[in-house]
Amino acid sequence: MATEVHSLQELRRSASLATKVFVQRDYSDGTTCQFQTKFPPELESRIERHLFEETVKTLNGFYAEAEKIGGSSYLEGCLACTTAYFIFLCMETHYEKVLKKISKYIQEQNEKIYAPRGLLLTDPLERGMRVMILSKAQIEISIYEDRCSSGSSSSGSSSSSSGGGGGGVGGR
């Protein structure tokens, strides 16, 4: 019975949620997008504090970079204004570029740090930048066995996703 972790996509699909930990926004700096670095107590046994804090701090840094008001953002804004914003049809904004960097970083963090500990970090963009979710994923070995035996077996995997009633399948 090999407990192999297959690809991250399969992990998302087969994840069953016992609990989800919600990391809320930190509005103490105004409307800029920052997340609370306070370590949630539910993760105490799952992941080291400094790893979590480092992830959140790096993400906060990325968001601050995206929303930075400075020379380059003014230049982009003025250039766009002079072209009546048609330039955005061909060019990506600085913010969009940083958001792509962020999703790459989150994927990398999931692969290196969170998936080995049975956790899954969702991109806040999927939730309207309101909240970051750490879901506890449980890998069900029965899925792989049943899938090989016959076609009628996904009930094996779905019965384990009893926690999914409120939350849906992982990664949401």
């Binding site: 509005y27 409307t31 003014y74 899938r147 077996s153 990664g171």
Partner: protein
């Protein structure tokens, strides 16, 4: 031997979004439901400019300078571009909380407020935050089931929470919020300039012609255009120019119309505006040239629904033939690719219905759609304009 035919019906996320918006061009365009006044705006602008270009420009280009119609055309195109950008873009709608997040927030609220005895009104759901040494209250939105970020407000017309909500503009047919405020401001600014320009050159045209053929003869030549143009220009001038002045004042102080109307930052015992940089130039630069966040709604993302139909009657699959595979809420590329990979790599899994999984999905879907229905008793109290 049954042959399964899986038909993929591509449903995009905009089709399932709650709120009272209309979407066009397969989710690329987003507007409010009532568009009548927007069509009036278009008609007035196009009509006035058409009359100007048709009648007066020819004379003025010859008599004075060909730069006159050229500059008018540039102003007109800029005003139209910014108007369409304002009307068609997402103003900064905050997606509603999915059931898991809503449940978590409810739990947090109950933990802070404790259980309320029967018959008593529950305390208002407010969170206090300190921003730049000022205490700012975050209110809970009963419709969207979230604590609204600072400066966000719920538009009762569109039934959405909008970030940095300014106002709902019927002339533009959309809310004005964080993502389209600069387009709105540039629209009213360019429209003011265009109106002043056309009005001025109307008068110049009448004056020039009157010098040649007399005032009464000038009016006799084209009886229809002058009164309508002058009336439109005159009335538009006072309203649009006034509005531009008001919004220039708001931009300089980094305030929204909503905050100004509610008097959030004025008065003796009130909090001072914590978002203002204190410097007019800095405020203008931030509001008009600051970074533009992309839409978090993901309107064109795909919600895949596979309908497997058995060709032979002897395979009763029941109601669970439908298998929603992708996320219900706004999702990124990862969601799409995971759904696609699933379809590609495990064909027999997708063909087999998953009863309990789809049952687990159904309540979530139902909850999303019930969010579309307005809840009058709660909304009336809470919805802010």
């Amino acid at each position: 031997m049954s042959v399964m035919v899986a038909r993929k019906k591509v449903v995009r996320k905009w089709e399932k979004l709650p709120g009272r918006n209309t979407f066009c061009c397969d989710g690329r365009i987003m507007m409010a439901r009532q568009k009548g006044i927007f069509y009036l705006t278009l008609f007035l602008i196009l009509g006035t400019c058409a009359l100007f270009f048709a009648f007066e420009c020819r004379y003025l280009a010859v008599q004075l300078s060909p730069a006159i119609p050229v500059f008018a055309a540039v102003l007109f195109l800029f005003a139209m571009a910014t108007l369409l950008r304002t009307s068609f873009s997402d103003p900064g709608v905050i997606p509603r909380a999915l059931p898991d997040e809503a449940a978590f927030i409810e739990m947090e609220i109950e933990a802070t407020n404790g259980t309320v005895p029967q018959g008593q009104r529950p305390p208002p759901r407010i969170k206090n935050f300190q921003i730049n040494n000022q205490i700012v209250k975050l209110k809970y939105c009963y419709t969207c089931k979230i604590f609204r970020p600072p400066r966000a407000s719920h538009c009762s017309i569109c039934d959405n929470c909008v970030e940095r909500f300014d106002h709902h503009c019927p002339w533009v047919g959309n809310c004005v919020g964080k993502r389209n405020y600069r387009y709105f401001y540039l629209f009213i600014l360019s429209l003011s300039l265009l109106t002043i320009y056309i009005f001025t050159f109307n008068i110049v045209y009448v004056a020039l012609k009157s010098l040649k053929i007399g005032f009464l003869n000038t009016l006799k030549e084209t009886p229809g255009t002058y009164p309508s143009m002058v009336l439109i220009c005159f009335f538009t001038l006072w309203s649009v120019v006034g509005l531009t002045g008001f919004h220039t004042f708001l931009v300089a102080l980094n305030q929204t119309t909503n905050e100004d109307i509610k008097g959030s930052w004025t008065g003796k015992n009130r909090v001072q505006n914590p978002y203002s940089h204190g410097n007019v130039v800095k405020n203008c630069c931030e509001v008009l040239c600051g970074p533009l966040p992309p839409s978090v709604l993901d309107r064109r993302g795909i919600l895949q629904q596979e309908e497997s139909t058995a060709q032979e009657e002897s395979c009763p699959r029941g109601p669970s033939a439908q298998e929603p595979t992708a996320a219900q809420g706004p999702g990124g590329q990862a969601e799409e690719s995971s759904a696609q990979q699933k379809d590609g790599s495990l064909p027999h899994l997708t063909a087999v219905p998953v009863p309990s999984l789809s049952n687990a999905e159904m309540p979530e879907e139902k909850q999303l759609t019930s969010g579309e229905l307005p809840v009058p008793s709660q909304d009336a109290g809470q919805a802010e304009h």
